[in-house]
């Protein structure tokens, strides 16, 4: 097979990713002439839909952005709104929000590992084929995913687009009996999560190191979920209020999602970036399990993201158990807010990475403007850079089918959630 041939690979609909995207790849004379991760899912205009809505409606509305990571949208939103309203929900709400978020990490990561990513490593087209060869592993993944759903349901009343979160806390506090029952199920699943971590590390993961900038929240003494400063592997260390001074979103013609750049360059958000920047914030047993994989952390190999996801499932189970250990019913599961005008930001760690929100409220507490920067927007430029470097390094002496499969696998390493990312519409009006 000649390196000089012209290869055109068009993947019209990427499989096993959330939402609708495509890949255009043109190779000429052994060089990549065109590489575009096309996101063509129609814009969803959520920021515009929020304008004019009361602050108390925002958490339920933004949950509709994603069926996989609705908790993340709710948590970043309430954090930003509470900053405007001058609200401190107190330690019970803070801890239970963390538990709520753990549920989403467990659910989303389990889904991605087993239903979306793992088939790639066994040459399977889908999870059904994988289940025929590894039924026990897939069953374990489904059990873990169900536990994540249970945890979201505990506070959110339902696991898809939950309705339990509100500005100031939760509408409802689960009963002691519900908490104890679920807590013991979570505790019993810890060995399964550890086994999953070991299993992902045993996969045949390609060696594909690339220099990239990791970006994540970093908290003074805990692994980041709902709070922290925004830091990078290149020394950035800012408050979430300073985000817009360093990160720039720009339109690209081939995508309905904006590309984010940090100081003009692509960067990575998500589980691998989080672990790269927060390894020592993990509990000792998770650190030990990660060291035992033989992988050097921090890692510059995106294929290690599947191991990072499994590690975060293990972490999130243990964290939820720890936080529910001394659960008590609060006098009230929320604090009341009083409307007032202002601007506030919120940043949290969605399963796929940093999720940044900014809201402006008027004196009646209605949304004047909203800005939402989801993790997949932030990873888009990095995905294209990764594809470019990885394919150039791997070479093109492969069949088109093999190149296509490899490209899709690289994209899936990022667990892109395209539906979340499509907030942008390039609307041009000509008036004559």
């Amino acid at each position: 097979m000649s390196e000089e041939r012209r290869i055109e690979i068009h993947v019209p609909a990427l499989a096993r990713v959330e939402g609708e995207g495509a890949l255009n790849l043109v190779i000429e004379d052994g060089r990549i002439a065109e590489l575009k991760l096309r996101i063509y899912e129609p814009p969803r205009l959520f920021e515009k839909l929020l304008e004019g809505r009361g602050y108390h409606e925002v958490a339920d509305l933004v949950a509709r952005i994603c069926g996989i990571c609705p908790v993340a949208y709710q948590m970043s939103a309430v954090q930003a709104l509470e900053a405007i309203l001058g609200l401190d929900p107190g330690p019970w709400v803070r801890a239970m929000r963390r538990v709520f978020y753990c549920g989403e990490w467990i659910e989303s990561h389990s889904l991605h590992i087993h239903l979306l990513a793992a088939p790639d490593f066994f040459g399977c087209d889908n999870v059904t084929e994988l289940a025929k060869r590894y039924p026990n592993e897939v069953r374990r993944g489904l059990r873990l995913q169900a536990l994540g759903n249970d945890l979201i349901r505990l506070f959110g009343a339902r696991s898809v687009h939950p309705v339990g979160a509100r500005v100031g806390g939760f509408y409802h506090a689960p009963s002691m009996n519900e908490v104890v029952t679920l807590r013991e199920k979570l505790r019993a699943a810890l060995p399964e999560a550890l086994a999953l971590l070991q299993w992902t590390a045993s996969l045949s993961l390609p060696a594909s190191e690339q220099p990239f900038t990791s970006v994540a929240l970093r908290h003074a003494d805990e692994y980041p979920l709902n709070e922290g400063r925004i830091v990078s592997s290149r020394g950035l260390d800012i408050a979430s209020e300073e985000y817009e001074q360093h990160f720039v979103e720009q339109q690209v013609p081939h995508s309905t999602a904006l590309h984010s750049l940090l100081d003009g360059a692509p960067y990575l958000v998500g589980p691998l970036a989080r672990i790269n920047l927060n390894f020592e914030r993990l509990p000792k047993e998770v650190q030990a399990a990660l060291r035992a994989t033989g992988i050097t952390w921090p890692s510059a190999n995106m294929y290690h993201s599947i191991v990072a996801r499994a590690a975060e499932i293990y972490y999130a189970l243990g964290e939820a158990v720890r936080l529910l250990e001394n659960y008590s019913l609060p006098a009230a599961p929320y604090v009341e807010a009083t409307a007032r005008a202002g601007v506030g930001v919120g940043a949290s760690e969605a399963p796929r990475g940093l999720l940044w929100h900014r809201y402006e409220l008027d004196p009646a507490g209605q949304v004047v403007s909203a800005r939402i920067v989801p993790p997949t927007s932030q990873n888009q430029a990095r995905i294209e850079a990764d594809l470019h470097a990885a394919l150039m390094s791997w070479g093109f002496a492969h069949s088109d089918e093999v190149l296509r499969a490899r490209s899709e696998q690289i994209i899936r390493n990022y667990d892109p959630c395209i539906s979340c990312a499509t907030h942008f519409l390039d609307l041009r009006v000509q008036r004559r």
């Binding site: 289940a131 897939v138 069953r139 759903n149």
Partner: protein, 157 residues
């Protein structure tokens, strides 16, 4: 897990609640309450998480759901087995986890295809906030309730 699981799918809105309506009445029926646990009824609010445990362990899963296949509201379709369900219904899912996908995954995990019976009740437009079934859909729901009651005699006896 029971030998037969009846799952009503839907939402709280208007005719879209017809699957829940049928399931709730079957759950209260004597045939189910006296089955000694051989028949279980699930009100499915989140099919992606509710249905997999049923598919993994039940001998037969009976699904009841509203459908929109350009027919007259109140028309009932019954599909049996996965191929028939695939041919007769266009399952829609935002993330690719359609009912045939779930059934195939369950079959791979348990080593055999679970029995699957799907009742689709044709509905018209659904308005959010409507709390009752329309007359033709309500009549169809009563018929489906009776038919499933008869099927249970053979499936779970």
């Amino acid at each position: 897990m029971a030998r037969v699981v009846i799952a009503g799918l839907g939402s709280p809105h208007g005719d879209d609640q017809v699957g829940w309506w049928v399931a709730q009445r079957l759950a209260a029926s004597r045939r189910v309450s006296s089955s000694g646990g051989r028949i279980e009824v699930v009100i499915s609010r989140e099919p992606s998480s509710d249905l997999m445990p049923c598919l993994l362990s039940a001998e037969t899963l009976i699904l009841v759901d509203a459908c929109m296949a350009h027919g007259v509201p109140g028309v009932v379709s019954r599909w049996w087995g996965l191929p028939a369900a695939q041919a007769g219904a266009r399952w829609v899912s935002s993330h690719g986890a359609t009912m045939p996908t779930l059934v195939n995954l369950a079959a791979a995990l348990r080593g055999s295809l679970p029995g699957l019976i799907v009742y689709g009740i044709e509905i018209g437009a659904v308005c959010q906030g409507e709390t009752t079934l329309s007359v033709p859909v309500c009549m169809a729901a009563q018929r489906v309730q009776d038919w499933i009651g008869s099927e249970l005699y053979f499936l779970a006896s």
